[in-house]
Symmetry: C2
Subunit: 245 residues, 2 copies
DNA sequence: AGACTCATGTAATTCGTTACATGATTCC
DNA sequence: GGAATCATGTAACGAATTACATGAGTCT
């Protein structure tokens, strides 16, 4: 679980409270990780239960008491062990791509609007990250932690490259959609009973798979969902489903 | 919720069962959406409850009965309305970037290994998507659905661009880490009580924010977590915390 | 007066994964 | 004989979001 380790990482900078952790999240790793206070507080309790952090109550008169968490030796060891392990890949989920995938059901104009909106939002993200770069420069100078700059900037570099690629794609996609023949849009969906069609599509799928042996072999490595499953052999079914028609 | 609409999208191609839907997911949108059968079956029930799809049991002797779902008119309307709406942005979560962000706690070699692993996995993903491109070409030809090719290929284009950008970044990052001074690694963390340090860092944060008015103004638009919240004014606190030391 | 800061949480709900359960048939 | 295909699910768990709750103090 990444959240707990991210918390450990921040607490390793110095003892702090849940409230402060939230602030650090929002101003430093917000572009690749978010955490709500309602998630941070229970997570801290669990870390404490596992003896990875220690808590001290700091009594305040004018304000609510603070619970200051500091890292323990086992906590530091756990953090470093986790950091050195290969990173898990999260399953990608892109609603925009679902919309594009089923784009033939939309009018050309509606699809372009959806893509335009995506491009605009991505552009905002890129602008944000460009500022973030300068922000980090000034911040590390202000607190004298120049040795952290490389690592922090690298995370921004990643976001910038990826978002610029996405922006490029969406602008490109708009051009391709504009250039496309009108006939492929607002696809009238056929009302037939479909059993034959879906089954024959499935057979075609199997046939193409067998024509491209190993073509999709990367899937089980690439997709987190298929990890560990053996490389299954694609083949044409012997009992042809056409007999059922 | 995207899953239900993705299911609607597939069922709109023609009536099919949950089991078949899973196959379509795995061979066509797996690179940007995954769904387990245990999630698909209840989702179909809900869609049926909302009258967006209809179910017919197809009795089979040699195999378990099939529940074939077909889309209804309200279902088609709901699908098209959803497709035309601007796409939600999912919160990005990148464990690899957490590791890089706290990279100063690792040895140079350990950080390079983590990045190397990331690069290798990303390369596999790129190769997979390159094959997927050809796969779609052959498949649309086999079933005579050339009019869908553009939309399907666009989703692969997006994955390719984004993953190539990520690959470029990770190779770049490896070079930068290799070139970095050894002294910035295996950062010995200070055991002091930290209250002053974290608080002064927080003050520095506020100061830099006020030096760059509007620099991080994009955050609330860019980050899904902060959407809708008003553009808050960054300012230097008047009651200086230094008094508390 | 109203909003925001500081500071803590709990509860409900959604979304998704993993594990468990069944059972005939068919492939190697 | 063992694995996989076909075909349906349920149950438990984990991660994350949203809503709710409290309450003094400070800023505009």
């Amino acid at each position: 679980m990444s959240l707990k380790h991210a918390l450990l990482g921040f607490i390793n900078y110095g003892p702090m409270t849940g409230y402060e952790l939230k602030k650090f999240f929002d101003t430093s790793v917000a572009h690749f990780w978010n955490a709500e206070l309602s998630q941070i507080y229970p997570a801290l309790k669990q870390l404490e239960g596992d003896s990875l952090v220690e808590m001290k109550v700091e009594v305040q008169e004018d304000r609510p008491n603070r619970k200051v968490y500091s890292i323990t030796e086992p906590g530091r060891r756990e953090l470093i062990a986790w950091l050195a392990k290969p990173a898990e890949r999260e399953q990608v989920r892109e609603p925009i791509l679902i919309k594009v995938f089923f784009g033939s059901s939309l009018s050309k104009q509606d699809l372009i609007s959806v893509l335009q909106n995506c491009a605009d939002e991505t552009r905002t993200a890129v602008t944000y990250l460009e500022h973030a770069h300068q922000f980090v420069d000034k911040f590390v100078e202000a607190i004298g932690l120049q040795q952290e700059a490389l690592f922090w900037q690298l995370t921004i570099d990643c976001g910038l490259k990826v978002h610029r690629a996405e922006l490029e794609w969406s602008e490109d996609a708009i051009q391709k959609v504009k250039a496309a023949d009108d006939s492929i849009f607002e696809n009238e969906q056929h009302g037939y009973d479909g059993v034959n069609d879906v089954r024959s599509a499935m057979e075609a799928l199997d046939r193409v798979k067998s024509l491209m042996p190993g073509a999709l072999a990367g899937a089980d490595k690439y997709l987190p969902s298929a990890q560990g499953k053996p490389d299954q052999q694609a083949r044409v079914p012997t009992r042809t489903r056409a007999a059922a028609r």
